[in-house]
Symmetry: C2
Subunit: 177 residues, 2 copies
DNA sequence: AAAATATGTCAGCCTTGTTGACATATATCG
DNA sequence: CGATATATGTCAACAAGGCTGACATATTTT
């Protein structure tokens, strides 16, 4: 019997459990929590023919209006070609506009339109409500604990991306107006 | 100029902020935390030519050995055809084996092999370490708060899926042996 | 003027989701 | 027993959203 050998693989009947030294509880909670967390906007997006990729672009353009294509690529960690597809759709549908960079006119600064802002808010609202409900259940005084934990889950070298968002401790104040 | 009208969309220059009544902080923290949380196993999976879909299948087969294809589909919420592709690969590579159901021989009970168990553990380990490090930073006594929050983020009707996993409060004890 | 940079775009590939249709083995119903 | 229902497998086609490589264009820098 060449190629199959005699070691037919033996099925393991015991469940992987916490006894294996793995924090399965939180691993699974993160999986389920995130799945449902993203399900809210997914439905709204589908109505416009958009997907999660559009959501991410729209969110960060709303959070950092005027950021360039290169800066957006850095936040999203995707390629120019991947971005191009969804960005084009968001521009064609009037959710985002591009303006030539005032200093470097090769750059394209990205801004949300009123429609883009409205959609971003519509997408964020159910997520915010879900968070609020969960926080209420947990105890609102525990907010700092939750934030601390989530931030500690992020790669240290990428935490700067969070801190540089507007309205954060240690914000640079990108609007000089 | 038909089709373009005169209302060229006006760029919004102010950043979406917490003043808009949205919990942007936790929304973004969840995004970044989950992104990095999943990046750990992604690298290991790539070495075997697997993706995140394989991870999910492997995880739940390890957590609920002997579950049927239909049960797995219910947990993953994907179609039979989507599952078939990745499941076939996991079987062909000796990570998972199928046994005909003892009562209903149309069913296929899914079990991990030693190799499948090892890979599941290898994938879970860095995630567990990341959680542990974050928990250490936050304070291990806050563990219940974190778990409570994450569970509260899950759709109420889907929390049963969590509670039915082995080693959970209110476990049914699926092994009757 | 030449080289580097920022962006856009074309073409093609991969993974992982989808639907629809159909085959097979087994169980159940009448 | 025969018909029907069920559990699973599989084929074909399609879509979203990642990827790479190559090349065009505008603009800035050298």
């Amino acid at each position: 019997m060449p190629g199959k050998d005699e070691h037919e693989p033996v099925p393991i009947r015991t469940a992987l459990s916490r006894a294996d030294g793995i924090d399965l509880d939180i691993i699974e909670l993160l999986f389920f929590a995130y799945r449902d967390f993203t399900s809210d906007p997914d439905q709204i997006l589908a109505a416009d023919g958009f997907g999660r990729a559009h959501h991410r672009v729209l969110h960060f353009v709303n959070r950092m209006p005027g950021l360039t294509v290169a800066e957006l690529l850095d936040v999203l960690k995707i390629t120019k070609q991947s971005l191009a597809r969804v960005l084009k759709q968001l521009i064609d549908t009037g959710h985002i506009v591009q303006l030539p960079g005032p200093k470097d006119r090769r750059q394209r600064e990205l801004y949300p339109t009123q429609r883009g802002r409205a959609l971003a808010l519509a997408l964020a609202r159910p997520q915010s409500r879900r968070i609020d409900a969960a926080l209420k259940e947990t105890g609102r005084d525990k907010r700092d604990v939750i934030e601390g934990f989530l931030k500690a889950m992020v790669n240290p070298d990428l935490r700067a991306q969070i801190d540089n968002l507007p309205g954060r401790p240690g914000t640079l104040g990108s609007d000089d107006g």
